[in-house]
């Protein structure tokens, strides 16, 4: 296709039309703020991942409930994008910034910029190197401890365990790993036979577990996966090989499918991470900050182990 003035004009028109549709579909019109209404910026780590999407929903719901005006953006797992978004929040003069950080180190400059602009920051769900004004989240180490304790209890402290990591170097992976190893150190009879990453991904965890079944068949009694997606992948591999009954599987997050699997007696357990609790905590703290009222520096939302006995109360949430 040659570029003639007509096609150029046509292309430009098309681009404008697309942009206009995109804008009208994608965002709401910026309204002027009512007096006394707080403006809060929220940067989600990744709205395409199930847990962080749930957290984003919870933040939006709580903001609506409490009459806070929320600027909601998605960093799509890119720390660089998250820093730009924080800069936008600063130029929009938001009262408080809530960050759901992408990475421990790389998202830190976002905190520094906000603090330099004297805007208070709440970190929700994960940590950054630079200290925010408040952290609302759950202690990932506790998730690792709870999961490995559940395994120790199931195996009476004797047996071989496999561990599937999340993406290496992410805050949740580091701390869930650390928690699990603390428990392993307590039980000399419990051995970590092998551990490997499946990058939070179900298909990768499925292939990894298939490979483990070749290498260590019959030699392991439990699998701890750092999230439920990977636990579901491991579960599928074990079920297909017909050895699920010999292996205890536990994940973290309590996503809908994992809860259904626990209810159906397929998955043994998962560790519930409270997205609604974290979202509420973040917005409530942001309001206190904006109103210059005292607030907690750290709001910890506890993890809970979900098994077949108590799964019904979580299915309702």
């Amino acid at each position: 296709m040659r570029l003639t003035p007509r096609t150029t004009a046509g292309t430009f028109g098309l681009a404008c039309a697309l942009l206009a549709t995109g804008l009208s579909v994608g965002c709401k019109k910026a309204e002027t703020r009512k007096p006394g209404e707080w403006l809060v910026g929220y940067s989600s780590r990744d709205q395409s991942a199930e847990y962080t999407a749930r957290l984003g929903d919870a933040v939006q719901a709580r903001a609506k409930e409490r009459g806070v005006k929320l600027v909601f953006v998605d960093a799509q797992a890119d720390a660089q994008k998250q820093i730009s978004q924080t800069e936008n929040f600063i130029s929009q003069k938001v009262d408080v910034i809530i960050l759901n950080p992408c990475e421990v180190e790389a998202s830190s400059p976002a905190i520094d910029r906000a603090r330099a602009a004297k805007i208070p920051v709440v970190n929700v769900n994960s940590l950054t190197k630079a200290a925010p004004d408040c952290y609302v989240g759950s202690d990932d180490e506790q998730a690792g401890i709870l999961a490995m304790e559940a395994i120790a209890k199931q195996l009476n402290g004797q047996g071989n365990v496999l561990m599937i990591h999340g993406i290496m170097g992410q805050s949740a992976q580091i701390h869930r790993d650390a928690g699990a190893r603390k428990v392993l150190a307590k039980y000399p009879g419990l051995k970590l036979l092998d551990h490997q990453t499946a990058s939070w991904d179900r298909a990768k965890a499925l292939a990894l577990t298939e490979n483990w079944l070749q290498a260590h068949k019959g030699k392991f009694q439990a699998i701890f996966a750092h999230n439920d997606e990977m636990a579901m992948g491991a579960l599928l591999a074990l079920e297909r090989a017909g050895v699920k009954k010999d292996v205890y599987v536990i994940g973290v997050d309590a996503i809908a499918q994992a809860l259904d699997a626990v209810k159906a007696g397929r998955l043994d357990a998962t560790v519930f991470q409270d997205a609604v609790g974290q979202g509420r905590g973040a917005i409530d703290t942001a309001i206190l900050m904006a109103a210059k009222q005292p607030y907690e520096k750290e709001v910890m939302i506890p993890f809970q182990v979900v098994t077949r006995e108590n799964v019904d109360q979580f299915l309702k949430k």
Binding site: S48, N211, K217
Partner: protein, 316 residues
């Protein structure tokens, strides 16, 4: 234009001996280093695991032969898987409906890529880069950002076995054999080489270049749709996040197999060998309990090393 009129299968086979040697050395090492590698159950396991990358790699071979590229494979796998899963709830539609929906979704994405490349005159890199983000976005929109679960056992059964043979492997083998026959025996197949080898000359010889390219992208899309259906069956859900960077493994396999990134040279047989090499490496590193950090490094070194050996041998 030497390789364009006849794909010269025998010569290609000779060229691939380097890869075959690397494959044998690695397989031999793994058989010595582990008790589990050279067992029937593990080899079936490898075959099952390579099938998805294999189907994608054969598909993208067609596009690479024309001198194009398709970066949207991974996202289109996710979109096709989600589309398939949405129609695969138990008791809603007969089995062929979700399968066709998955295939058509992939096929349509491929055709759209092809139309934009041929009619729009936009570089394939840009077109398929656009498709990569559009398809990922659509997968998230259709699934509401959550895995589409509750698939019928009929469909998830597609990831199972037929006798001792994994069904995904049957799909991969069928795709590979048909593609091999097609490229070697059919006029349109030879035209693909001609277009990739020298577009001007092909046009002068009366080949309809846009039609050939459209066909390549459409077929690649259709096979990507198939890979999406197989993946959804394998993980029993339509995952909007699935397939991240699958295009890289697929293109790596094709290039290891001797297909030129500038088009006109290559073979399905080479692609299959490339797929096997990557699959054996992935499986072997897990069997050996190599740490996650080292796995990435070793895999990269073996891939580049294999291509280097292969090219060196091809030149001599």
């Amino acid at each position: 234009m030497t390789a364009t009129t006849s794909p010269a299968l025998d010569r290609n086979l000779l060229h691939r001996l380097g890869i075959v040697a690397v494959l044998f050395v690695i397989a031999g090492l793994l058989s010595v280093l582990t008790d589990s590698f050279a067992t029937a159950s593990n080899l079936t396991n490898v075959a099952r695991q390579v099938s998805i990358n294999g189907i994608l790699a054969v598909g993208v071979t067609f596009v690479l032969l024309t001198g194009g590229v398709d970066l949207s494979l991974g996202s289109v796998v996710a979109l096709s898987g989600v589309a398939c899963a949405l129609f695969a709830h138990p008791g809603e539609y007969p089995l062929f409906v979700p399968i066709c929906v998955g295939l058509l979704t992939g096929g349509l994405c491929g055709l759209l890529n092809g139309v934009l490349v041929t009619r729009g005159g936009i570089a394939p890199f840009i077109v398929t880069l656009g498709m990569m983000t559009v398809a990922r976005g659509l997968a998230l929109i259709f699934s509401g950002g959550k895995p589409v679960a509750d698939m019928s056992p009929d469909l998830t059964g597609l990831a199972g076995d037929l006798g001792p043979v994994p069904i995904p492997l049957i799909c991969f083998a069928a795709v590979a054999v048909l593609s091999w026959l097609f490229l070697g025996r059919f006029r349109l197949g030879r035209h693909l080489y001609a277009v990739g080898g020298n577009e001007q000359a092909a046009r002068a010889a009366g080949v309809s270049v846009p039609k050939v390219k459209l066909f390549a992208y459409g077929l690649c899309g259709l096979l990507t749709g198939l890979a999406g259906v197989v993946l959804a069956a394998r993980i029993t859900t339509g995952q909007p996040n699935a397939g991240q960077a699958y295009e890289l493994d697929a293109i790596a396999a094709v290039v290891i197999g001797g297909t030129s990134l500038s088009g006109g040279v290559g073979s399905v047989l080479g692609t299959v060998l490339g797929v096997l090499l990557i699959g054996v490496i992935n499986n072997g590193l897990d069997l050996l309990s190599v740490s996650s950090y080292y796995q990435a490094v070793i895999k990269g070194v073996i891939i580049v090393g294999a291509v280097w050996l292969d090219r060196r041998q091809a030149r001599s």
